[in-house]
Amino acid sequence: MSLKTIKNTQQKERLFQSLLSASGVIILVLVIGVFITLLIQSMPAIIAHKFDFFSHTTWDPVSGQYGGLSFLVGTLLTAFLALLISIPFSLSIAIVLGEYLTEGWIALILKTAIDLLAGIPSVIYGFWGLFVLAPWIRNLEIKLGVLPYGVGILTASLILALMIIPYAASLGREVIRLVPAELKEASLSLGATRYETVRKIILPYAKSGISAGFLLSLGRALSETMAVTMVIGNSNLLPTSIFSLGNTMASVLANEFSEANGSIYISSLLEIGLLLFVVTTIISLIGRRIIKKMSVHQ
């Protein structure tokens, strides 16, 4: 190799590295930029109503009262309820596709269907929720004797659960497939049944990856806007049961930002955005800790 080609290769290498670090820097700058922008823009609101924001449930732009508690509760309630509902389904799908049906056309169809589920625009989920799911919930509510709205916390959580299944299921499937064959074979050769192998070998081995999938889907549920807005009922009162109407931080932003006027009003909306940013970060940090603790030490 001549000196020139070596130099050329080195230059290419350097350019490639620069491009990579540029992408990294852009992401970092963006995230920090978003945080700083939110913080600066929500300062007037933070100064104006201090901690009332977290203790008050009255959100009244007309009289200038901005309490965000019911939105915080609504967000956490719908996201965790959705996660709870989705876990049995996403876990079963991950096991089926990762262990039982790894090849063949049925697996292909199932896999495609799951991926497709993740690709459907959220507004379609919203409409489906409003026109198909909500009447079912309404009938259920009539039978149970609660106020038959059809929309509300429960409907929103069900829609969210459906939307987040693909994330946990896809990641879970990949992780389960990564479980070393020797481990599985060893288990089977010792006389363990397939079920026992799944329960005692595969799931413990893959649990940190599976939890990462749940974390990903929780993050999705926390920030989903359109579909939730369409079926949650957008009531600013604090929800009292899962049949209540509610509201989430993301949907208040989606609903009111475009028409907001007045600096404290916009600032309060941005404070909700900041809160959502912080809540998502905290949950993701806690989640990472849990995953780290769970991961297999080799």
Partner: protein, 344 residues
């Protein structure tokens, strides 16, 4: 250490290059969603006629006002006029040019009942949560011939900030003192009761879902989706259904020179109607604007208030009455560049 610094600098440079600005040569507008179908029809016709491209983004009235104040657009559009305080805050004079008229219908889902009369006070009491069932004496009294069911009323309102809500609550404030004191008027409100739904389509969805529901919907959406809506009592005591004629009739009042006026609770016509405006700076010499831009904008506004009105009826919009066009002409003629009137 050193190669890392080069990397860092190169990457910063690339980051900087990515954030470059684009330069626009067309007319830019943004604002209200209600007149969007009308404006987009008008503007495409204008483009074919004059070859001037106008880009209108329907981001909502509040957004339209904000964008104009930030001077990122040539014109804003709003369904609710800016308050005296807002105009004072802007320092530079802003003109409201009326473009069309809209109305809010009170739609309901009562199987078998196709004709219903409502008064302002009754609507306010329903939205305050004080009238809870359809056979309430207050509703029965104004509909003596109809057998109303004992169904519970499911109240639906807009959850997104909206000019439709602003016109609706402006009306309720005029007809109900309790409403004015407890809730007030605005694009987003603290609703005492009911389900919030996003957009006209969301409210329509709730209406379809729940028998016994009531909701307010922008009239063109209600008409095009063949929804059932009530006749509303106007100030003269007549029960009026919203139509092109009755909405235009509501604007037959004394209109101030700046056309910033609420026409709800009118003596004539349908009482929940309102104007929609395009807002522009009176003095067009701001930022780096050229005189030709001011000329183009003024010509566009003139065309929209005159020839452009011909596109209204086909899209179910109400064209401006002649008296209002006259006011709009005076306003457009007052637009200036460096103290010189732009429209000759």
């Amino acid at each position: 250490m050193k190669p890392w610094r080069t990397h860092f600098l190169t990457s910063l440079l690339i980051t900087g290059l990515c954030i470059s600005s684009t330069h626009a040569t067309e007319i830019l507008g943004a604002g209200a969603t209600f007149p969007y179908p009308l404006y987009s029809k008008m503007l495409s016709a204008y483009n074919m006629k004059t070859n001037i491209k106008v880009n209108y983004q329907s981001i909502g009235s509040g957004g339209g006002i904000r964008q104009l104040l930030n001077k990122t657009v040539d014109f804003g559009a709003t369904d609710g006029f800016m308050s005296d305080q807002e105009l004072k805050n802007s320092r530079e004079a802003i003109l409201h040019i009326p473009m069309s008229l809209g109305a809010v219908s009170i739609a309901y889902n009562l199987p078998g009942i196709t004709k219903l009369k409502l008064t302002g006070a009754v609507i306010a009491n329903i939205y305050l949560g004080q009238i809870k069932t359809w056979n309430d004496p207050q509703i029965q009294k104004i509909n003596p011939r109809i057998k109303l069911p004992a169904t519970q009323i499911v109240v639906a309102h807009r959850s997104d900030g909206s000019g439709t809500s602003a016109i609706f609550t402006d009306y309720l404030c005029k007809v109900s003192l309790p409403w004015q004191q407890k809730v007030g008027q605005g694009t987003s409100l603290n609703w005492p009761t009911g389900i919030g739904a996003k957009g006209n389509e969301g409210v329509a969805g709730i209406l379809k879902l729940a028998p016994g529901s009531i909701g307010y919907i922008e009239i063109i959406y209600a008409k095009q989706n063949k929804m059932t809506y009530a006749e509303i009592q106007n100030k003269a005591g007549q029960f009026v259904s919203p139509s092109l004629e009755t909405i235009a009739a509501a604007s037959d009042i004394k209109i101030p020179a700046d056309t910033r006026v609420s026409i709800t609770d009118s003596k004539k016509g349908y009482p929940i109607s309102g104007f929609t405006w395009i807002i522009v700076y009176k003095n067009q010499n701001y930022g780096n604007r050229k005189e030709s831009q001011a000329q183009d904008l003024t010509n566009l506004l003139w065309w929209m208030t005159h020839d452009g009105q011909a596109y209204s009826a086909a899209l179910d919009y109400v064209s401006l009455p002649k008296s209002v066009v006259a006011k709009a002409e005076i306003l457009i003629k007052s637009i200036s560049y460096n103290g010189v009137k732009v429209k000759k």
